[in-house]
């Protein structure tokens, strides 16, 4: 279980510019084996929140507890999947997948067989010795996913992993991610700016607003699991439509509101 309490973080301004409050008073509990999606406009601090969870950056206020222990840095129970994929261009698919294992001292045949298993799981058998630049974006992100899953994390942190992919590839990978998660359950925190993606994948959707980045609402997605076998029916269902349109109403309100506030501020300073 992850408990985030009163998390706040600001980035200092440069050369007299005021700093940006990236996160303010964020309270959130992530249940074990839950698939939690975080949805918000760009610049709402959702990626910052994830980087805090990963222990990659520090924060100013509040605390993050992972199974009641405070998070102070990266840890072996967490693994991350990056939007930019972050594969090592000089290493083969196999070597990229074994990266995390090697860092944790797993080596030799043990490491190889574990990686092999994951490569099969993400459907890349036969590509073990391929280099990243020989793969399509979708295949590259499968490698990224395999690399994260290889260390058997209790918490999988995904930062808009399918954001850079084309529509067809994204749908395919969403389906496969669901399949994988349905068979080997872990806690997933999944950042996205797509409402459909948030609802399709998540047990709950965390809605964030920008400036300062804070949590506005947490929406339950009561649609049945497993969903991977019939994504189209899920997305076509009245329930799905209902939830996404609710989310849209909220998001739209803030966007308009932000616009209005921005205009008011501009008028006030004139």
């Amino acid at each position: 279980m992850i408990e985030i309490r009163g998390l706040g973080k600001s980035f200092p301004g440069r050369r007299g510019n005021p700093g940006v409050k990236a996160l303010e008073g964020v309270n959130l509990t992530v249940r074990d084996d839950e698939f939690l999606t975080v949805l918000g406009p760009s610049g709402c601090g959702k990626t910052t929140l994830l980087r805090c969870l990963a222990g990659l950056v520090s924060w100013d206020e509040g605390e993050i507890l992972l199974d009641r222990r405070p998070v102070t840095g990266p840890g072996p129970e967490r693994a991350m999947v990056f939007q930019s994929i972050a594969l090592m261009p000089w290493a083969s698919v196999l070597r990229n997948v074994t990266f995390g294992l090697e860092l944790r001292g797993v080596n030799g045949s043990d490491c190889r067989s574990r990686a092999q298993e994951l490569i099969e799981l993400v459907g890349l058998s036969g590509f073990e010795s391929s280099m990243p630049f020989e793969l399509s974006g979708g295949m590259q992100q499968r490698v990224g996913l395999a690399r994260a899953l290889a260390v058997e994390p209790a918490v999988l942190l995904m930062d808009e992993p399918f954001g850079a992919l084309d529509e067809q590839t994204r749908r395919l990978l969403q389906e496969e991610l669901l399949q994988i998660w349905e068979t080997r359950r872990t806690t997933v925190v999944f950042i996205t700016h797509s409402m459909d993606e948030a609802v399709l994948l998540g047990d709950r959707v965390v809605l964030m607003s920008a400036r300062p980045g804070k949590i506005e609402d947490v929406v339950e997605v009561p649609m049945p699991r497993p969903r991977s076998a019939h994504i189209d029916t899920v997305e076509g269902s009245a329930e799905f439509r209902e939830i996404t349109s609710q989310l849209w109403v909220r998001l739209r309100e803030w966007q308009v509101d932000i616009g209005r506030r921005g205009r008011a501020a501009a008028a006030g300073s004139r």
């Binding site: 990963a54 222990g55 990659l56 990266p74 840890g75 072996p76 967490r78 693994a79 991350m80 990056f82 930019s84 972050a86 090592m88 261009p89 000089w90 290493a91 990266f99 995390g100 860092l103 944790r104 280099m131 630049f133 260390v151």
Partner: protein
């Protein structure tokens, strides 16, 4: 994109022969043939010019070829080659051993850079030949002076490219490694070193050609030994054929070294792009 419809694989490069053409056509089309042809044209123009305009200081092409062969058979010549290259090899080795770590370190740690940046810039902008008198006054005419000049010529290129190599490593790769719990040490070994290899290799290649320049320049200007010494002697003795032959040898050596460096680069960093920071 009319060629996209073609079911045949598109041949790489222009010189690749297509099946079913005559041998003559294939030879006429090949790269090696074109190169030889250019060379022949240059040789012909040279020969005609030397014979018709001529003069004491312009040798004929065939005379130069003979002189070249003679040179290659002469033990004294190879001693001169050794004397020159000794300075270059030692200087280049020191350049690589010192330059790469300095550059890498500067790329990663800002304070180190702030401290050394100004000296690197001085080395980059100063015409190195101007330093030769200073070096000789300070450490004399020996091998040391020549080695030092080679280092001063070559090391800025190696440092600057290595520094750029570390800088251009994708920061999300570093973050990725950190997320898996990598220490600074493993980040160096697993991310920064392989990631900066393409630029480091570029630096080595440019540094190598600068080493060769330094080797000849100092011998021509002040310390008349080795190949530069030969050039000066032949000039003094009015032997333009031999003088040209030495120059041609230097050109061949440069080409050979650069080919070796490029070959190494392709073998070691097949994923890298060329010319990350081609300053020179």
């Amino acid at each position: 994109m009319s060629s996209a419809a073609s079911p045949q694989p598109i041949a790489m490069g222009n010189g690749r022969p297509r099946a079913g053409r005559s041998l003559v056509a294939r030879i006429l089309d090949s790269k090696a043939f074109l190169r030889l042809l250019t060379l022949a044209v240059i040789a012909a123009i040279w020969q005609v010019y030397a014979v018709m305009v001529g003069g004491l200081l312009i040798p004929t092409f065939d005379g130069t070829v003979f002189a070249f062969v003679e040179l290659l058979l002469d033990g004294k010549f190879w001693r001169a080659v050794w004397v020159s290259n000794q300075a270059m090899l030692i200087g280049f080795a020191i350049t690589v051993i010192l330059g790469i770590p300095i550059g890498l370190f500067m790329g990663r740690y800002r304070p180190a850079e702030a401290f050394t940046d100004v000296y690197i810039n001085i080395l980059l902008v100063t015409p190195m030949a101007a330093l030769i008198p200073l070096i000789i006054m300070a450490i004399g005419f020996g091998l040391n002076a020549r080695v030092l000049l080679v280092i001063l010529f070559a090391i800025p290129m190696v440092i600057v490219n290595s520094r750029a190599g570390v800088r251009q490593v994708d920061p999300t790769l570093i973050e990725m490694a950190q997320s898996f719990g990598a220490t600074e040490r493993s980040i160096w070994w697993r991310i920064l070193l392989p990631g900066s290899m393409p630029a480091v290799m570029t630096g080595i290649r440019i540094g190598l050609s600068r080493s060769l320049t330094a080797m000849v320049v100092i011998e021509l200007l002040l310390i008349a030994v080795g190949l530069g010494g030969l050039i000066i002697n032949f000039r003094g003795a009015f032997q333009p054929e031999s003088l040209y032959a030495v120059v041609i040898f230097v050109v061949f050596e440069a080409l050979l070294l650069i080919m070796v460096a490029r070959w190494l680069e392709r073998r070691l960093v097949p994923w890298g792009r060329e010319g990350v920071l081609a300053t020179d």
